[in-house]
């Protein structure tokens, strides 16, 4: 076991949690991520392998598959971002490679992203200050890429009235967090 201590994307030793009114923004660090892109000519095989892994067909455009141990978000044609608990899947890329073999290219993305979970009341009012996504029309399992404060982000809807996950670039976690909190203080 190595002796290097991790920092959270916001630079802390523990995830940051902020609550404004009845909405909580949680810095989510227990998340391992990897991108999966089907190899040329292997698209069907890759989808089949993913189906086996996820227990459901890989999500189509605008959708996410929310489950354990693996969740998946559509990221492009024949491309997905897969997520799992960091504690058990720090080596997510290796695990996926073992499952998908040469049907896909897999790249570890765990530390390329930061993750903020919004849970509670008032999500739509906050999100409408952040991005053009129509939260009022989203259902559980909807996911999209958008920009928040100029940053390319994933917005994944767990429950339109209670839970949304935002993935953004890790190096800009501070800026993204500031934008989210500013919107929370403004809207709530």
């Amino acid at each position: 076991m190595h002796d290097l201590s991790p920092l959270t994307p916001l630079g802390g030793t523990a995830p940051q949690i902020d609550t404004v009114a009845d909405l909580t923004c949680t810095e989510q660090c227990d998340l391992a991520l990897a991108s999966v892109a089907a190899r040329l000519g292997q698209e069907k095989a890759c989808a089949a392998a993913l189906q086996k892994l996820l227990g459901a067909a890989p999500p189509v455009a605008g959708k996410a598959h929310l489950a354990a141990p693996y969740s998946a978000v559509w990221a492009g044609p024949d491309q997905w971002m897969l997520g799992a608990d960091f504690a058990t899947h720090e080596d997510i890329a290796a695990q996926l490679k073992a499952a998908l073999k040469d049907t896909a290219s897999i790249t570890e993305q765990t530390d390329a992203w930061c993750c903020f979970d919004l849970s509670g009341e008032g999500i739509a009012a906050v999100m409408e200050l952040l991005c053009p996504v129509n939260m009022r029309a989203l259902a559980s399992g909807d996911a999209t890429r958008t920009t928040i404060h100029h940053l390319g982000c994933f917005v994944i809807c767990g429950d339109p009235n209670g839970f949304v996950r935002i993935l953004g670039p890790r190096a800009s976690a501070g800026s993204l967090h500031h934008a989210i909190l500013t919107a929370m203080r403004s809207a709530l």
């Binding site: 190595h2 002796d3 630079g11 993305q109 029309a137």
Partner: protein, 981 residues
């Protein structure tokens, strides 16, 4: 006396008394007042001075179309000029000042302009300030601007915040009058997502200003009940205080919500205003209509107002501009004003009706077939001169005069995408026509349905049609349906100084002059006279101007046409367009994994794109950045230094064709690069110019990691995706950025291996034999953490780059520092990095400047002839390969004490210094602590053959002339022995 002109009734909260000041004087008003209504209630009619002639002015209207009552609101940094008193919501502690006057509103020295009005007619400055030409910019324009100003800016940063937001709906209803409310009810009850936006703080539109009834109840009650019903519907969002300012492409509307303008200061964290982008597949414009004035001499005196505005003040705000009021009208609406005022106890001096067959009235005198031809009064109206039907004159004493010339539908938003309104003869007005913005329909007074019944029925029907709702239209409530008869009456015959555009001081005479001088097109008229060019966009003036121009030209009004209405519908604070994107929040910031550690060390940061990078790390006793940088360079070259190079772009390239793909992408060969090896690569643009450089490390047969320069990371990734998707879609290759996923540090210097050996797990041999120059590998460190190691060198020293997942970057940096203490390990920043790469002759952004080729960079032979790659063919163009092409060289001063600066040009030792004799230029320069003098990199014609030549480095801009010697660009370790050690 307090609120001398306050009437009974109204929709104001009399229980709440609000104190405010105007021009320093204290007044009182009530909750629900506007600044204008409160001032009128306090018997203040004079609220401003006109733009050009500094004539005393009071409010003309009771809404956003106001041209006259323009004031400076608030004070200090929040001072906002050119605000309409008619829409400014009163709050306790409001301060307002009149503007464009000196020394005071009542005595304005610049009113002298009015005496010289004969000289200041339309176009006077074009004719007057002709000579000498140079005087225009320096003398005339500043004087004119000062004299003809509006408000003033505080010149301080705006302390308030502004938000931007996005909303979606099935139907956007603009305007919450009877038509808008009925439309929103129809759509809302059907379960559709509805946004109802209204610029007023109280929804209801004209219903709040009239004494009409709907379903036998006061219309204001119906409006309030409708608003209550709508606010209870979860699918309906009411947006009061929200002005839809523009209709943009694809059903997108801009709307400014004045979130906190009715408060003294915004609540903590709340914005002052929010600029909404509303996505609406269907939009219903229910913007109502604006009453139009009639032009007659001196029709701009404070107290002369639109008749409907006087009615609004009396009915909604329980305020009257005077206790004795006359009305001048050409239609029945003027009589409504007289009746409503009478009911409130205001005396009616007379109703002057231009129609010989005007209706009679018992309660007040009606002067049929008469016209108001002039007014009197120094700072406000005292008398109106009336020409009776028989031609005799009569003077009527009155403190206010309500003028009604009929109604113009508010077509503005229908024209934002270049639609032109059409003329409706029955209304004698323009109505929406031609091509409306896609998805937009219009209802109510805005489409010419001027009765309450017409508004309610068209509102319901239009909403139903827009949304394709099935079934019968529900019955609309009962309301008045008075026939509309609008006969045009634009101005009183023979008038001259009769104001059309009160905000820009354009008179009937000016329009006649414009016609006389040949500016007859409506667009020329607008520019020559400035009619309609003020902040109110001519909402009360355009029609009058067009009508007079039509008459002079002997044309019908529709033949004259209209000018274009453009967004924003009403003046909008620039801050609303900026939103939160200002100051430190102008763009997001990217922090490196070692940022917090570097901050603790007191690093000085520099912005590189969005990244914050440590520039140098000052230590105690260092007073100048050069001391820090020289120390960092020397320490690295003598022992070991560490630099965070995470910011370099990292792109993961995988697939069975990954090597073939890179072979196309880079001009040099990559197909045969062995697994475990790294190679420097140069990418060319299609046109053969160098685009970016970096390294590609082959971690596995089908897996490369490409690095790019920090500045070009996104651009290179974009280029690679283009190449993958468009040029070589048949290749099996997958790309993804991993820049932020890995913390990557350069560990450089003769002791770098010794330091790394303390960190890298013993299973991995990083000796020169086991891990030679340009090797790469997946390794583990510190007891099992996955990491990547590259033996590459930007500094020219024995060097490595080590990468770990970003979350461990901070810990790794601290580890390298503690483990490196025995070697005096030194962190170095981008400045030392820059110095070392210049000493080594490595090209960077300064050299890859978008004009240089591989040949220029001294890497011409890298462009492989054995394969086809992007840009390789066009790099062979003769023009890029001339005998005296620019080649990268080094320069050093002949006198070591002299400076070398980037940007200077190389000239022969003697001879002229000009562009024709230019031999080359310097791109990078630095003080080299290794050599003890300044050095530079640059491009020199045929440079490779000119080593040792003496030249002059000149920079006319910085007045520099230095004698320099041309040298190899590789100042340090030209044989590369150190990096292979």
């Amino acid at each position: 006396m307090t609120q001398k002109n306050r009437l009974s009734g109204g929709q104001i909260g009399r229980d709440t008394t609000l104190k405010f000041t105007f021009d320093g004087k204290q007044y009182q008003g009530h909750q629900g007042d506007t600044l204008a209504s409160a001032l009128l209630a306090n018997n203040v009619r004079l609220m401003g001075r006109s733009f050009k002639y500094h004539r005393p002015r009071g409010p003309l209207t009771a809404g956003s179309e106001e041209p006259n009552a323009i004031v400076e609101l608030r004070g200090g940094a929040r001072q906002e000029p050119n605000t309409r008193a008619t829409t400014a919501e009163l709050y306790n502690g409001l301060t307002a000042k009149s503007q464009n006057r000196w020394p005071s509103l009542a005595f304005d020295a610049m009113a002298i302009n009015d005496r010289f009005s004969n000289f200041l007619t339309a176009g006077f400055y074009y004719k007057t300030f002709m000579w000498p030409a140079a005087f225009w910019e320096k003398l005339y324009e500043p004087i004119i601007r000062k004299a003809a100003g509006l408000g003033s800016l505080s010149m301080k940063p705006d302390p308030d915040a502004y938000d931007k937001g996005f909303r979606h709906c099935d139907l956007l209803v603009i305007g919450a009058g009877p038509a808008g409310l009925m439309a929103a009810l129809t759509a809302g009850r059907a379960g559709k997502e509805v946004i109802l936006a209204d610029e007023d703080f109280r929804m209801g539109g004209r219903l709040n200003s009239e004494t009409l009834h709907i379903d036998d109840a006061p219309a204001t009650d119906w409006a309030a009940q409708s608003v209550a019903e709508l606010s209870a519907l979860p699918n309906v969002r009411l947006m009061p205080r929200t002005t839809v300012i523009g209709a943009f492409d694809h059903g997108i509307y801009g709307a400014v919500e004045r979130v906190s303008d009715h408060l003294h200061t915004p609540d903590p964290g709340k914005p002052r205003q929010t600029l909404w982008r509303i996505y609406a597949p269907r939009t219903l414009l229910c913007a109502g209509a604006t009453e139009r004035p009639i032009a007659f001499d001196n029709n701009d005196r404070p107290g002369v107002m639109l008749a409907s505005a006087i009615r609004s003040y009396a009915n909604r705000w329980a305020a009257t501009p005077a206790q004795r009021i006359a009305v001048f009208t050409n239609n029945d609406d003027g009589h409504r004003t007289a009746q409503d005022l009478l009911a409130k106890g205001v005396k009616i001096a007379a109703v002057v009706d231009t129609r010989p067959d005007a209706p009679r009235a018992d309660a007040y005198e009606v002067l049929r077939g008469a016209q108001v031809i002039d007014t009197k009064g120094r700072l406000g109206l005292t008398f109106a001169e009336v020409k009776l039907a028989d031609g005799t004159l009569r003077t009527i004493e009155c403190g206010a005069l309500g003028v009604s010339g009929g109604w113009n539908p508010n077509v503005h938003l229908t024209c934002h995408q270049r639609g032109r309104p059409t003329w409706d003869d029955s209304l004698a007005a323009f109505v929406p026509g031609g091509t409306l913005p896609p998805g937009m329909s219009v209802a109510g007074a805005a489409i010419g349905a001027l009765s309450t019944h017409g508004a309610l029925t068209t509102g319901a029907a239009a909403a139903k049609k827009a949304l394709g709702l099935k079934g019968r239209t529900p019955a609309t409530p009962k309301a008045e349906d008075a026939p509309v008869s609008q006969t045009p009456f634009w101005y009183v015959e023979g008038c001259s100084r009769a104001w059309l555009d009160q905000q820009n001081d354009v008179t009937v005479k000016d329009v006649k002059l414009s016609h006389q001088e040949g500016f007859r097109s409506v667009e020329h008229l607008k520019r020559y006279t400035t009619l309609g060019m003020a902040t109110d966009q001519g909402k009360t003036s355009n029609m009058g101007g067009l009508a007079i121009m039509a008459e002079l030209a002997g044309k019908a009004i529709p033949e004259v046409g209209t000018t274009i209405f453009r967004p924003p519908y009403t003046p909008t604070a620039i801050g609303a367009f900026a939103g939160r994107i200002r100051g430190m929040e102008f763009h997001p910031t990217r922090l490196t994994p070692s940022h917090y550690w570097a901050k603790e060390r007191g690093a000085v940061f520099v912005e590189v794109g969005n990244w914050l990078r440590a520039q140098w790390f000052p230590i105690e006793g260092e007073t100048h950045w050069r001391e820090s940088v020289d120390r960092e360079v020397t320490a690295t070259r003598n022992s070991v230094g560490v630099c965070d190079c995470t910011t370099l772009g990292k792109i993961d390239v995988q697939g069975t064709d990954a090597a073939a793909f890179l072979n196309k992408l880079y001009c040099n060969g990559f197909a045969k690069l062995a697994v475990g090896k790294t190679r420097y690569g140069l990418m060319l643009r299609e046109d053969g110019i160098a685009m970016d450089d970096g390294t590609a490390a082959r971690l596995e047969e089908d897996h490369f990691v490409v690095t790019t320069t920090t500045a070009n990371a996104a651009r290179v990734y974009q280029h690679m995706e283009f190449v993958r998707q468009c040029l070589f879609p048949d290749m099996d290759v997958q790309l993804i950025s991993t820049t932020e996923g890995w913390a990557q540090y350069a560990v450089a210097g003769p002791n770098s291996r010794k330091l790394l050996q303390k960190v890298v797990d013993p299973a991995f041999d990083i000796s020169n034999e086991g891990f030679p120059f340009m090797a790469c590998a997946n390794i583990t460190i510190c007891g099992g953490l996955r990491a990547r190691l590259f033996r590459i060198s930007f500094s020219g020293e024995l060097a490595f780059e080590i990468a770990v997942p970003s979350r461990y970057g901070d810990a790794l940096m601290r580890k390298l520092m503690s483990e490196g203490a025995e070697f005096d390990v030194t962190p170095y920043g981008t400045e030392a990095l820059g110095v070392m790469r210049i000493e080594k002759g490595h090209a960077a952004g300064n050299e890859l400047n978008g004009t240089t080729t591989a040949l220029n960079l001294g890497m011409g032979r890298m462009v492989s002839k054995a394969k086809d790659s992007i840009g390789s063919k066009l790099s062979e163009r003769p023009g890029l390969n001339e005998a005296d092409a620019l080649i990268q060289v080094g320069v050093k001063p002949v006198d070591p004490s002299k400076a070398i600066t980037a940007g200077g040009h190389l000239m022969a030792e003697t001879g002229p210094v000009n562009a024709a004799h230019d031999q080359g230029y310097i791109t990078s320069a630095a003080y080299s602590p290794s050599l003890g003098h300044m050095i530079g990199l640059g491009f020199l014609k045929n440079g490779a053959e000119r080593l040792g030549e003496r030249m002059r480095l000149v920079s006319p801009v910085t007045r520099l002339t230095v004698e320099v010697e041309i040298a190899s660009a590789h100042f340090v370790d030209p044989e590369g022995e150190r990096l292979r050690a």
